[in-house]
Symmetry: C2
Subunit: 547 residues, 2 copies
């Protein structure tokens, strides 16, 4: 059971990496040894001092912008600009740590209401100032990159002051201001015995508006639904006006405008309010581990669970390489003897695919569903590992980006990317992307460890989430990253998968959008943008490919 | 358990009403007596002979249209035109029976492939010929009305020859040609042990493309999902080109283009193929009845079922008036002694709200879920009526439109309309719409019976489905209908509900769209239409309000 304090947001994120500046998640020696052993020692990476970070001089944004909000809501200090100059993908971290930022917002603006946003967008459209909506700043695809495009200046529109909370207990919905951080939203719901159940890895810092703008998907998506499914209504303030979708549980009145705004990534306007669907907060949680003989068998059991209506709320199936590293990572003390045993067994036999499953809700329902899933897991030949691996997963569910900082410190490239497909083409997608990443980095002389897990499971398919680690190429980090990313993107397209299951498009995936949605799809999105943002000031360079 | 033959489509629909021309669903004497008793005797309505139906002379559509398909695929006979001249709403039936059609398609065109559709739309766009996509012709909102708009002619594009079937057993998906009738699609899936589980009242005649184009919702939506949720991918052929959405279980790549095409009602292009999500066909079904003390209590138990994760696959809660008439309707012979008893009990005490609940699946799961729902129903004070009312509902689940013909024969207006809202505003919506319909018909001297049920239940709200019956006003049927429909529409808007939960917009709801989606919403839809259908030939007068 969670206490209210569990959902209190941590302090301002460290400027050069992920999360609470006071918190370190130490990398277990065993894991580091494994990585050094396989990739060889790397040259550690330093972080420059905050004051040394070079950014372009701020261009003046003019008094009209200030009038649109108020003087105290326009910030131009080095620190304020720097903190909205990048997201949290690997290339962002490389540039921040090196203190070389080619772009930064000329000003940070913090409007306190949808009305202020409307006024601001009117001014920016008229004056040709690009606007980058900024929530938690957790994008890993360049979604908050301060690109001016053809405009004379660019501002970061930080939503943090738009943080209303209105709960409709009877309908189990809540309308949140877009800038509310996820832990604050959860804490407010929890006081009413409710939860949204949306816990992506970015949970601690992400905002409600960011979830909607990027089609976020949480770790317990099988149980609670994706954020698009949890979004009952949205309010968009666009340069061309305001759109509030109807909150009516469902409507068949034409194409879904809500589904147009969800996923619009700030390129059509600013999402200022989101009505979410909540449910009763779970009284009981149970997470546990199983071991499948290999990834193919593990993925197949996820399929069986989904297609036999026995899907746990959380399902995560790691491939052999991720299993190996996960076991090494979780071996660092704590109550993980079961896992330690599994690790030892695994070392002896090589291979094996760790399956973490979890259930949340009333104790009886959890036990019943657990038993139903157990039947499927056992008949597929999976071995039960008990709650150790489940607890380890739960403890560390938001820690991966902290560990990334540790690895980058030690000189390694660490990046993640994800895709999805139907079951009948998932193997092909897995094989294609894995070899592409491995091949591209091998080619550069830095052969990687490529790991993958299935973590969002549907009756018709699943997502694949890749993590890859390689020795960094000093001073060529960005080129090295781009080569791997490009190879992966091409492999995804070749296998017919989606370029993103839940990280969104941002800047990094924009070049793949034409392949994803087709030329007419691009025309449709451009028509929407032209209508909603005629001056083209909204989040330039994101979502849509360059014309 | 269903046999394959259960899903065989019935023959061509009778031209003046609903369903199999050879089939009549007799109106029980008790029900007719009740209606006559409350509304007074009415003047029976006749049906003219098919040959007597007056339609405008067909305008020539030119050889290019014929070349785009082939000569045998362009039909211009009286019979062919008449059968695509109207949907199946009350005003359609009034006009068909009276033999007075102000509009009819100038030709019926049956392209056999998406490529033929593309060629046809190119010709029609160039020559200014309006195109009305026509699937099962079951629209009750004027969705297939042959409106020429500003164009010189109008064709009905009948999709019946586009009927491919491709099943991906491993992913449990199937790609169907848009013109495939729902029973054919179900039969094909059933041969693989699968089902989509989508059974709206129009099931026997509706097409897969029609389901997608109108955001159809089936009777078992709580269990299987709405058709928008069951749609994995769509292919749209628009005058401006073709769009095939990615089939990848899920994508976060921007606004959902699939959700733009679903619900586009033929106004943006022709949906030619739909990939649906299937699941294992149920082995066991259980439908049963309960009685709540009144509609408020019945609706509240539906909310409890949803919010306590105990929702049956089918939930239908009738208000007192619908309960009364349902019991009278189902009293006609057959194994309904339990219901007969309930009917008698009800006659003694007045009031009472019939709750029909149903579960489908493995026997054990059905029994377990039934028991969980039973606890909620019982603690809410509902009385179990056994399987009688459930079986009666299942037997008659597609019969309401047949009964409508019987009532129209006897001189009564019968119409249905539906809406949805959140739980916290559902009572207000119910009261407002009910009084508005009653008041408007009372004002015309034909006080109605207004009935309502909740039939699609969500954690955050539910749909309301109204049926109203009144003595018709001879020769003023359309005005009488319009008055009631307008009053209901205004009441829905006043309560903030949606103008349609699952009947779609068509011609009848187009005037309410500006209120539903707001002025910017209308602009967005227009921008889409302009981009996809620059000549404005696609289904004029539907979906969007007149400019």
């Amino acid at each position: 059971m969670t206490g209210a304090s569990e959902w209190a947001p941590p302090p301002q994120m460290k400027w050069w990496g992920w999360g609470d500046p006071e918190r370190r998640v130490p990398l277990p020696n065993r894991a580091l040894a494994l990585i050094r052993d396989e990739l060889g020692p790397a040259e550690p990476s330093q972080v420059v001092d905050l004051e040394q970070v070079a950014m372009p001089q701020p261009r003046p944004v003019g008094s009209e912008v200030i009038d649109a909000v108020n003087p105290a809501s326009v910030l131009t200090s080095h620190d304020h600009r720097l903190r909205r100059a990048a997201g949290r993908g690997y290339p962002d971290l490389v540039r921040l740590r090196a203190g070389r930022l080619d772009a930064a917002p000329d000003a940070v603006v913090l409007p306190g209401s949808a009305e202020r946003v409307a006024r601001l967008l009117e001014v920016c459209s008229r004056q040709g100032i690009a606007v980058v909506p900024f929530g938690g700043g957790t994008s890993v695809v360049g979604g908050v990159e301060p690109i001016s495009g053809r405009h004379a200046a660019v501002i970061a529109l930080d939503t943090r002051r738009i943080r209303g909370i209105e709960i409709d207990r009877r309908s189990m919905t809540a309308t949140f201001g877009a800038g509310l951080r996820a832990p604050d939203a959860e804490a407010a719901l929890q006081a009413e015995g409710l939860t949204v159940g949306h816990f992506p890895q970015s949970f601690e810092y992400a905002t409600i508006g960011g979830f909607a703008a990027t089609r976020s998907v949480g770790q317990a998506s099988s149980g609670y639904g994706r954020f698009d499914e949890l979004t009952a209504a949205v309010r968009l303030v666009a340069p061309a006006g305001e759109l509030q979708t109807l909150e009516a549980s469902h409507t068949a009145a034409g194409p879904s405008l809500r589904e147009l705004i969800v996923g619009s990534e700030g390129a059509l306007g600013v999402i200022t309010d989101v009505t979410v669907r909540a449910r009763a907060a779970p009284k009981h949680r149970r997470y546990e581990g199983w071991m499948a003989s290999n990834f193919a068998a593990g993925a197949d059991v996820a399929r069986e669970l989904a297609q036999r209506d026995a899907l746990p709320d959380i399902v995560r199936v790691s491939d052999e390489d991720e299993t190996r590293l996960s076991l090494a990572l979780s071996g660092s003390g704590g109550p993980s003897r079961a896992l330690g045993g599994a690790y030892l067994a695994l070392r002896r036999r090589r291979g094996g695919s760790l399956v973490v499953v979890g259930w949340e809700g009333e104790r009886e329902a959890v036990e019943r569903r657990r038993s139903a899933a157990g039947i499927v897991l056992r008949s597929a030949g999976c071995a039960a590992l008990g709650t150790g691996p489940g607890r380890a997963w739960a403890r560390s569910r938001f820690e991966a980006p902290y560990l990334r900082d540790e690895l980058i410190d030690r000189g390694y490239l660490v990046e993640t990317l994800e895709t999805a497909h139907t079951w009948s083409r998932l193997d092909e997608l897995y094989g294609g992307v894995r070899s592409a990443i491995a091949g591209s980095l091998q080619h550069l002389g830095t052969p990687p460890i490529v790991m993958c897990h299935v973590s969002h499971v549907y009756r018709d398919g699943a997502s694949l989430y890749f993590t890859f680690i390689a020795k960094r190429r000093p001073n060529e980090e960005l080129e090295q990253w781009a080569a791997a990313k490009r190879a992966a993107g091409r492999a995804i397209l070749a296998a017919g998968g989606t370029i993103t299951h839940h990280h969104a498009v941002g800047r990094d995936h924009a070049p793949y959008m034409a392949a994803e949605v087709g030329p007419l799809g691009i025309e449709i999105l451009r028509a929407l943008k032209e209508r909603l943002d005629p001056a083209g000031v909204m989040n330039p360079g994101k979502l849509l490919p360059a014309e």
